[in-house]
Symmetry: C2
Subunit: 342 residues, 2 copies
Amino acid sequence: MRSTQVRLARRPVGEPQDSDFEIAEAELPELEDGQVLLRVIHLSLDPYMRGRMSDAKSYAEPVGIGEVMVGETVCEVIDSRDESRAVGDIVTAYVGWQTHAVAPAAMTRKLVDPVAGLSTYLGVLGMPGFTAYAGLLQIGRPQPGETVVVAAATGPVGSAVGQIAKIHGARAVGVAGGPQKCRALIEEFGFDAAIDHRAPDFAEQLAAAVPDGIDVYFENVGGHVADAVYPLLNKFARVPVCGLIANYNATGPAEGPDRVPEFLRRVLTMSLTVRGFIQDEFVRAHYKDFLRDMSGWVADGSVHYREDFVDGIENAPAAFRGLLRGTNFGKLIVNVSEPPAA
Amino acid sequence: MRSTQVRLARRPVGEPQDSDFEIAEAELPELEDGQVLLRVIHLSLDPYMRGRMSDAKSYAEPVGIGEVMVGETVCEVIDSRDESRAVGDIVTAYVGWQTHAVAPAAMTRKLVDPVAGLSTYLGVLGMPGFTAYAGLLQIGRPQPGETVVVAAATGPVGSAVGQIAKIHGARAVGVAGGPQKCRALIEEFGFDAAIDHRAPDFAEQLAAAVPDGIDVYFENVGGHVADAVYPLLNKFARVPVCGLIANYNATGPAEGPDRVPEFLRRVLTMSLTVRGFIQDEFVRAHYKDFLRDMSGWVADGSVHYREDFVDGIENAPAAFRGLLRGTNFGKLIVNVSEPPAA
């Protein structure tokens, strides 16, 4: 079986270029015992992938030059040498940017009676939804009446953060880029307020939208959004640090002065909690609760989601570049092949 | 009754000068119902007082120009118009840098059967000891076999942090200024390792002293000590932020580049918890446990402490300036008047 693959051709300097990727075909090996052959239906594109393209120290190994770009997928099993998986099973698997793959059956998760479209298991019912759920509830711990601010708020993590905050009785304020996204935050996702971070008076608008200050800032972006948020944090505020997309393409040190002393002074005087996390630390204790809660919320309409589809694995690099620039709207999914007929 | 007072004459720019203080006499008002007249025996000098001299936003109101400098004291009650306090009682009270004071009886805490000298209730058995106890155990949460690093380690907070960490089965590494203090960390306080932050190869020495990385960094100082510590933090490390003495005298923005993006990237990729705190948030839940535990540890010799005495309220400004430069050694106490004969 041949697989069309998107590989890392070289490490990007700053914003990734098309030439940092290469598209090539590979002959997959024969199945061994315990393995399955997968046809990729949907591929998830996520900001964290920018980190894997660099070789700076991080929470995960970088993708090697010439290796297939990593990523979560929804696949159909088209051949199996493992009792637990049958041909026709639909699974999620971390096989990356390619059309077909051989994987250990044990590394796949079978979808049983999905409550929504298959692609949602890469978004609201998958890793991004769980990231929002675990980071907000385990670190942010919003209390009824508190104010939660989240940036990249129309993204799959941000939109879930705001909606889960509302379900828990907090006020949700979203930050997004442009009036169209801000309108969707109010009308589609039910946020209490939405602020356009591109507005020249963004910081003033944000301050006006949080008359009682900010108790939880779910950090997805860093940069000038964070600069506006931190002075508004209340005493004992919590900052789950989930992502820093504003910095991912940085090519060198940021312009001075050094604001670390000021940052730490604020942490001290306001008794802030700043806590980085990757969702996997919470999987064992909280994934089951997540699947139950979020499936219920999606099914009964209390959590909405939006998806942004791109067709064809060969278009993944351009779509990913757009994701880093914020040009897409909703969970970015590559349709790699047709889902099976229902 | 007249009181000799040290007042804030003007807000310091950078390091405080003698001329930022003024020494003056005041006639105290007559006692009203519910009040006590206090003779100050010991005054505590602590780094946080530098913050109160500035009018930047902080966790407490600044001292006003012309007002008495704030601070915790041990006092003898020499007159009382409250049933709960008798002449001759020994109390702690937050009456500041002066020889006598009128205070509400309800704002004093009576010392009953003290287990050690009265001055210890300003140090190891007082606010600094409680700061160490609460910050280390509630935020740092050291586990047996983990590595705890603390700077300003011969100070009243730092020395308690290291010794409590040891009692809880962790490895204690102290950072201090100069070979004399480092020797005391090992010989007097029982730390496992001591590093002189003035050494030109300080960062390399620290790295060599923590072969398993750092799980808890109790932050008292910031500055170049923190710069050496952060790259050594393990995944899921905890950083209780208790003080930032290296920055207290800063007069303007720190030299670039801006390292906030790098700092937050580390928080994210290493799943760090950075948590500022002031001890008072933990008083209600943990002060009784502290008094019981720490009194026991002091009495049985498992926690040692060192005190550094200065005689005379008029010498408080110079002693305080030395404290900010790190020239003292141990809990800095001003002997304001003689303790009562035993």
